[in-house]
Amino acid sequence: MTLGTLSTRGSSQPRIGWPTWVRAVWHNAFVYSKTWRSSIVTGLLEPFMYLVAMGVGIGSLVNKGSGGVDGVPYLNFVAPGLLAATMLQIGVSDSSFSVLGGLKWARTYFAAIATPLNYHDVLIGHLAWIAIRCSAVATAFVAVMGVFGLLASPLAILAIPAAALSALAISSPTTAIATRQDDHLSMTVVFRLGVLPMFLFAGVFFPLSRLPYWLEAIVQILPLTSGVTLCRALTLHQGLHPSLFLNIGYMLLWFGVGYYFSLTGFRKRLVI
């Protein structure tokens, strides 16, 4: 072969013209397309196992005892909660170890910023890909709910963007935290302290009114609580209460604050 072809002079560089952040999204989508098999169990199978176990198993007990929850069968009640919880699951798992890996272990983010991309593109690519992936998972989830007859009205379709927003409201602060961790262990502590309590208490499995007043007040601060409330209101069609806009705004706030601190975290770790 001639090495002349390896050097540059005179060679034209065909370009497509994608903005740099789109290239970062494409990158993540491509890597996912090659490695999705390992995450499919946690990403899709797990929520459905919960749905069957909780909705059908526990649901039959609940329904027998009190005729469902808030006037609907337990399966209808818990399904939108599990939709939001799935967003929590993906949002956290895709923003913790993978971010730390990009910064520290495989250092793949450093490969990206040696190209026309900068650290901001890497962050947008990261979060945008989570939004896309979560929208796809939410679409599948809502479709299954439809098959089970768990959707009260066509308005339920809005649960898909609501779920995606929940994912962003959780993954952007998680990313911000990940950029400030240095190892596996401290990351695991964040999981135990933040994610598990949120999963158990944010109203996925029971109405918040069952909690003591002080605990309910604390739980209302969690971003997942707003996600659960929103998804549930949209699929059960409990009426579009104006307070739902507060939930949207509140999740946007979590997303915005998380985004800001992710950006400063990325800059500190990548630009130096």
């Binding site: 090495l3 072809t5 370009r15 497509i16 740099t20 290239r23 491509f30």
Partner: protein, 352 residues
């Protein structure tokens, strides 16, 4: 301004003419240089690939790079030789527009990294000190995703990938996961990856550190081919043999400063004697012996395990040592290397 207006057309025309002329200029320059009538001061000389003056990189108050001035020209293979912590990586990160300079003047490919980072990076290839490959993906996919960062069409990337994997002697591993590759193979893949965008400058930060001798020689061979192909290279290393083999010109760095600059042979000529006589005397203090040889050598370095006598004719001095009744446990006559230059300039060895 309206599209297609006469003024606009005129501007486009002038731009085309200028580009045309720049092309001519390059040809004329090359011709002129061959005949020795154009020097680097000439107006036709192309801008340096990298130019930095009094460049500083500070971490808090600590200056990792403390005012270095360097010019790298087109087609040159330029080295930064220095021990760990000298500031080589910090310098490479500034040149590759990944990390802003704290102070000083820096131009890469004629542009300012502060204002044109992405444009410059689109024309650079970087082989970082630590690997940054996607371990879960195949070699080919690694090249594909990297090429997409440069916005190249898939078809083009695949064509280039074939050539580059061949160049990196990795064609038969094309579909394997990177995870399975040895260190040397990963380095070669990283070089192939850096070349996917056909860069105007290839920066290699310690390309062979941590590799076994065989893997190093294979890599040197690849780099040598790039060099003879006219690719502009910047190489950092703490191996003096690497610098001697690969670099046309280099700077010796220590503690963030440049302590010497020149072609490898020139540096050796300027700072050392042609030959070095290494003597080792059992476990006794080499310091004591050195006093007895002072008149035999231009300079003597006392290392923990041996004496280095800087001389013009090693064999002659060795027999003088013998005739004085000393019998060293081991003796070796060798040519001076960059290692000796570093030792002379800093009083320390490159690799400890």
């Amino acid at each position: 301004m309206l599209k297609g207006s006469p003024e606009r057309e005129l501007k486009e025309f002038l731009k085309a003419v200028r580009l045309e002329f720049e092309g001519e200029g390059q040809v004329l320059y090359e011709l002129g240089r061959k005949r020795g009538v154009v020097d680097s001061e000439s107006k036709l000389a192309p801008a340096p690939i990298v130019e930095c003056r009094d460049l500083v990189k500070r971490f808090d108050s600590f200056a990792a790079v403390d005012g270095i001035s360097v010019t790298v020209n087109q087609g040159e293979s330029f080295g930064f030789l220095g021990p760990n912590g000298a500031g080589k990586t910090s310098t490479m990160r500034m040149i590759s527009c990944m990390s802003p300079a704290s102070e000083g003047y820096l131009r890469v490919l004629g542009q300012d990294p502060e204002t044109h980072g992405p444009e410059i990076r689109s024309r650079l290839g970087l082989v970082p000190q630590e690997d940054t490959l996607e371990l879960e993906l195949s070699l080919l996919d690694n090249l594909l995703i990297y090429g997409r960062y440069f916005d190249l069409p898939k078809k083009e990337i695949l064509q280039r990938a074939d050539r580059l994997l061949d160049f990196a002697q990795l064609t038969d591993r094309k579909h394997d996961k990177v995870d399975l590759l040895s260190g040397g193979m990963r380095r070669r893949l990283t070089i192939a990856r850096a070349l996917i965008s056909e860069p105007d400058l290839l920066i290699l930060d310690e390309p062979t550190t941590g590799l076994d001798p065989q893997a190093r020689h294979l890599l040197w061979d690849r780099l040598y081919r790039l060099k003879s192909d006219g690719v502009t290279l910047i190489i950092t290393t703490h191996y003096m043999d690497e610098a001697e083999q690969l670099c046309d010109r280099l700077v010796v760095m220590d503690h963030g400063h440049i302590v010497a600059e020149g072609a490898p042979r020139q540096l050796i000529e300027d700072h050392s004697t042609p030959e070095v006589l290494e003597l080792r005397f059992g476990n006794v203090g080499h310091e004591e012996y050195s006093a007895g040889f002072e008149d035999l050598a231009e300079r003597i370095e006392v290392l923990p395990d041996r004496l280095l006598l800087y001389v013009h004719d090693g064999d002659e001095v060795l027999s003088a040592v013998h005739s004085r009744g000393h019998t060293p446990e081991r003796s070796l006559v060798r040519r001076s290397t960059l290692e000796d230059v570093f030792l002379v300039l800093t009083g320390r060895t490159l690799v400890d």
